[in-house]
Symmetry: C2
């Protein structure tokens, strides 16, 4: 493919450019870690715990070790020489590379069989025998608050977050973090309110289901380690593995090619520490690739319980709100405590409420660990507060949109933390939802068996802060350009967006810009690809880097006394006498931030930007079966000014459809021993083509994030916010029953219909 | 291996640190391209011309194509769609990727067999049949000046060097470049001189013999190409392959791991263009690795002829010198014209001569191409001018050291080009040679069959100019450091030196600094690793980059109001609230330069620095066999202030021993049809342990290159300068015969002894 290097004639930002990697992907040439084979590589197969909580009494690997072709069977005892303290985690150092003495959930890795042939490793893993002394277990987040079954003997905060320090060594509790926010006096205001409403909601445990399962490969020498991994956070992996091994960062290289989806599943340490120590132990390259089944035992989305209580004035203004949220974090904290805190402070919703009290608890239980999943806790919160909003509006006899409009949090007003709202087009989103749903027109509610209903919901989210992104932009002697950034393109189109930003600054067609994939030896530090932060943070860093390169080119021009319109290759030719040299610009971006007061949760600067999104649906409920069909799904969002409108649209619909699965049918089903009953895509249903709404409309409202690159901000999660409560609200609108527990599957709707009869 | 990250307590520059990669190399874990296998990779085996000059009448690949397992047989006709104009080269675009219509030397690549099994490819290559219409050929550089056999129909200068432009399209000549220098009036001064001496010298064609033969691997998609290659010039490879394909640079990636020696053999394009087009043609990864035999047909060292004529005054001052040098460049120019010019201007030697005339000619012949080989032409020149010096001194009855001392080019005096000498410790080198050889003590000349003699020689070299090096230095959140530079470590210890320079600036132990290997996607532009330029140019760039990183760290310190002695990890922790982030410093270095006047060869600024070296030997000649044994070899050099004294020492002895092989026995022997008769290490002898001198002394004189990094300058070639003439001078000293043609093998010495009887 020859690509002309003529300057761009049109703006690069705002173009609906097809994703740059499309061709590679459809021709099967895109690089994925699953395709990586290294000479002499061993495949690891994980042997997992069959009990939810227990002491390992005996581990017999002799039969596995005796299988022909098995290189070695490894358990925690074998790792001591390489990693003396094998506990990792972004918030707590609580998760062992392989189970040490105890297991804490069914499916926890206990041992690994290594063989040159992955089938040999798998067969041998079946021959491992473990005996456990079972311990009392706890599975429910509310029970975990008071249960005698304690998952961790003592809390081990990582020291990364100053607000976790006080938890160090705390014993006898399953609460990994309790976040509290107090604004005004909610109790007094509730007592004084004209009407008070209180409801409870729950969400279920679900899985990210990236279609590319987790996979990592490590290769090592005695003094260096390279990890090829399907990770959203290469910089974190390097730093955390360096900490585990006691090595300096520059001896560890983490490479990430394309990802087949991430959604938060591929953050922090998953298989990376394990393959790293196995490679150092065996002096061989080691690969572990999970099956889809094993992903259920690796990382999930928090189940949650939410008690919400609001006081409303006579004129329909919400004057006070109390929120209590319990997050079921499973056996290891992962980033759960951050979810608890970062989502916690928006638990009261996008409403202008004078008195707010929020309590949010991260809980350990004996289930597979829960972490970040597209929305970082926000969909669980919006589910509750937007059902609650609808329930209140209907009780009050106010149109749900009108009720929301009366209470909206408008720019310039303080959010619950005290941070003033800015560049958050909440009202525009609500207005466009009403318009697109033709809210004020007559609506056909159906008759007979099939009844129709409508519902809407809006939500908002802060962006994790403060986090850093660095980028470099290289301009070659022929004027061609390479962008270096550690943002991971996992399907969201970040490569294309970064190319557009660099192209815009340098007047190059984005198609000609190359974006080098994450490699800690190559691309500068980035916190991680998560929480819709990349377009804003890395976009700003890439813009700064491109501007820096441009500045250096302009300096060369004036140093060489060339006219301002001289083409880039001419500059290099004049400088070096031939096609030679390059210019590197660098950019570093960290937004301002004010940490919250630990006691009150208040801060003047909670987030670099606000994501705002809402959904509206028209649905049909089959009253005989309880089945819901979504006829229309409208997603509206404030994404600032889109860099690539087409990608924004697919991000919105992709997120909404993912949330549709969580809303209507996805659920991890556990038995009373903590054993997952549906750990396969045959039994755990994700949305298919037949589940698609007949019509999907996605719209970004006209908006600008003034601090964003060319006015843009993140969009990866926004489409998830409103879907679940919009559907629950529509079900109520259609058939008059109110569901407060996800998923809204036919069984639960049918049961409610029966009860209502 | 755990490495503490405490600050360095002692200076890093000046340490005789063992090479950083030693452990990797002795444990067999160092990365070489020969070990690279890629999925689906094809191996290419080259079918080569059996005639020295001819038109390809017929090429029958059908039998080869029919061999089971052969993927494809490719000749020039197959490449047209991918590379319409398949001629490459750094100075002339004269060399085809595969022979087009004509062949110009025995061994020229004509076709390639591709197969998944390299043995299949090799077997099939034997079945290819080519028929040629033979054309008159020319092999000798002097004959090539006037021969009717013309190697290239028309000259095709690359346009890279402005001084070649006037040659474009010139026909009917084998002269690829003629360089002329005129200082004063040599003819008149010779006529007026008290004594005039004129001699002729020759050198033979030899090979670089890197123990790792040339090897390249290419992999491609439709829009990107990665070349893994054992190359000294990754940046050039990228730019030249981009030119051939018509692609922008940013679609092409050139990676270079360790090299098992280079010596100039692995410069510019060797196998890279071939594997690139084969990969694009077959859509597979393609590897071509040469055998040792094939290296003889790829790149060699120029044979040369030198006529030198000096006028001397009564008091032993050289007042005028005429030099005519003819370089046998073989069938393709490679960098030969540059050798002609860049070496040409020092052909008159390190002497202060008022009237100088130099004519230097690059010639095409029908032999394997000649390029740069450790010294870039200088050893051929020193061979001639230092034999000449000795012959004159003996004729004049002046001690050879005393004669040199009277004529030395001292700092502040103009060299032949007019450039004033600076930081060139020529006299110190001569003085130390005299001291170490105990020149003024009585010397045992032997009796009977074995006679003993002593000889010395000194030489100097300019550094190719102007050339650019860029570097980046990354400091991680934990204070660990990575150096990015495209200098290729081919055994010379550049990684270690760069780590010492970065460590010195950043106060880090050099052992903890990582140096990332050349990768055009990763490491910034560098002209190439050649001509002893890297320590000076890249050393300066790395120093600037490290200083830039330090400046940024200090800015952070003051921005964060931290004390000046705050440790690096503390800065990042304070900035980011955790171990995060990094700082990238960049450095760009290009020395000043004034291009020579084309007519006179004069310039005020010919070189960024001067390399100065000399050797002295004590030898024994067996008068019955003509065999020479070197008893003592003393190498003295001005290397500025050594960064790593131990590496300097091994560079000096390594270079001198390499030159010892070229002096005493190495020679490519061609028959009258241009067929090489000794293309194997069984028949082409390189120095072994039994050829080592009994005693080797290497010394760097106390010196400083003020423009170099910490006073240092290049040393890779310096040890080669004086060896050949010192030995010839010693042979004369021992047995009274004067050899003027290299090598000084027993046969030629025996013949001269017979003649002298």
């Amino acid at each position: 493919m020859k690509r002309a290097l003529s300057p761009a004639e049109t703006p690069q930002v705002g173009r609906s450019l097809p994703r740059l990697e499309s061709w590679l992907k459809v021709t099967g040439r895109a690089e994925y870690v699953h395709n990586l084979r290294l000479p002499g590589m061993l495949y690891g197969r994980i042997f997992r715990s069959s009990v939810a909580h227990g002491r390992i009494r005996r581990l017999d690997v002799s039969a596995a070790q005796a299988v022909g072709g098995v290189h070695r069977v490894v358990s925690a005892a074998d790792l001591k020489g390489i990693v003396p303290d094998p506990y990792y985690g972004p918030a707590f150092h609580d998760q062992p590379v392989l189970a040490v003495d105890k297991v804490r959930y069914v499916g926890e890795p206990v041992a690994v069989v290594l063989a040159a042939d992955p089938h040999v490793a798998e067969e041998a893993a079946h021959l491992i025998v473990a005996e456990y002394e079972e311990l009392p277990a706890v599975y429910d987040e509310l029970e975990a608050m008071t249960s005698k079954a304690i998952v961790h003997d003592a809390l081990k905060p990582a020291g990364t977050f100053p607000d976790l320090k006080h938890l160090k060594g705390r014993t006898g509790t399953n609460v990994a973090l309790d976040f509290h926010l107090r604004r005004g006096d909610a109790a007094q205001a509730l007592a004084a309110a004209d009407r008070v409403f209180e409801h409870r909601f729950r969400t279920q445990q679900v899985m990210h289901t990236p279609l590319e399962p987790l996979v990592s490969v490590a290769e090592s020498t005695d003094s260096s380690l390279t990890i090829h991994t399907a990770s959203q956070s290469p910089s974190f992996v390097r730093i955390e593995v360096a900490r585990l091994l006691g090595w300096p960062e520059n001896r560890i290289r983490v490479r990430v090619p394309f990802l087949g989806g991430g959604f938060g599943a591929k953050l922090y340490i998953k298989l990376e520490a394990l393959v790293a120590v196995l490679s150092l132990l065996t002096r061989r390259a080691v690969k572990i690739s999970l099956t889809m089944e094993e992903q259920f035992f690796t990382i999930t989305k928090h189940a949650s319980s939410f008690r919400i209580k609001s006081g409303v004035t006579r004129d329909g203004r919400i004057c006070a709100r109390e929120c209590e949220v319990w997050w079921n974090g499973g056996a290891y904290a992962d980033i759960g405590p951050r979810v608890t805190q970062k989502s916690g402070f928006t638990a009261a919703g996008p409403y202008d409420i004078e008195h707010v009290a929020i309590d949010s608890y991260a809980l350990y239980t004996n289930l597979p660990p829960a972490g970040a999943l597209r929305g970082f806790g926000i969909p669980q919160l919006v589910w509750a507060y937007e059902c609650h909003t609808d329930m209140m509006a209907r009780e009050l006899g106010i149109d749900p949109i009108e009720f929301r409009r009366r209470n909206l949090l408008r720019d310039g007003r303080p959010q619950a933390t005290g941070t003033l709202m800015r560049d958050a087009a909440i009202e525009k989103v609500l207005d466009r939802l009403a318009v697109l749903l033709e809210w004020n027109r007559p609506f056909d509610r159906g008759t007979g068996v099939v009844r129709r209903g409508r519902g809407i919901a809006i939500g908002f989210k802060a962006c994790v802060s403060p986090t850093t992104s660095l980028a470099a932009v290289n301009v070659n002697g022929d004027g061609s350009c390479i962008v270096y950034c550690s943002t991971v393109d996992m399907g969201q189109g970040s490569d294309t967006a970064m190319a557009q930003i660099a192209g815009e600054v340098l007047h190059l067609p984005a198609e000609t810009v190359r974006v080098v994939h994450s490699d800690t030896d190559v691309t500068p530090y980035d916190m991680a690809t998560l929480g819709s932060r990349s377009l804003f943070h890395m976009g700003n860093a890439v813009k700064l880097a491109a501007e820096d390169a441009l500045k250096k080119l302009n300096q060369l021009k004036s140093e060489l006394q060339m006219p301002p319109d001289a083409a880039i290759p001419e500059i290099f030719k004049k400088k070096y006498g031939m096609q030679a040299g390059n210019v590197v610009g660098t950019g570093s971006f960290i937004p301002s931030y004010a940490p919250p007061d630990y006691a009150t949760g208040l801060t003047s600067d909670a987030t670099p930007f606000w994501m705002v999104g809402g959904s509206g649906v028209e649905i049909e409920v089959d009253t005989e079966t309880g089945r819901v069909r979504v006829a229309r799904l409208v997603n509206v969002a404030d994404v600032g000014t889109p860099i690539n409108p087409k990608i924004v649209e697919t991000q919105l619909s992709g997120a909404a459809i993912m949330q549709l699965g969580f809303t209507l049918f996805e659920k991890m089903l556990f038995d009373e021993h903590g054993q997952l009953r549906n750990a396969s895509l045959a039994e755990y249903k994700i949305p298919g083509f037949l589940d698609m709404p007949e019509e999907i409309i996605n719209e970004a409202v006209s908006a600008e994030q003034r601090s964003g690159p060319f006015g843009a901000k993140g969009v990866g999660e926004t489409g998830t916010f409103g879907v679940s409560p919009a559907i629950a609200n529509a079900i109520h609108d259609a058939v008059g029953v109110r569901l407060t527990v996800l998923p809204l599957n036919p069984e639960s709707i049918f049961m409610e219909l029966q009860k209502a009869k």
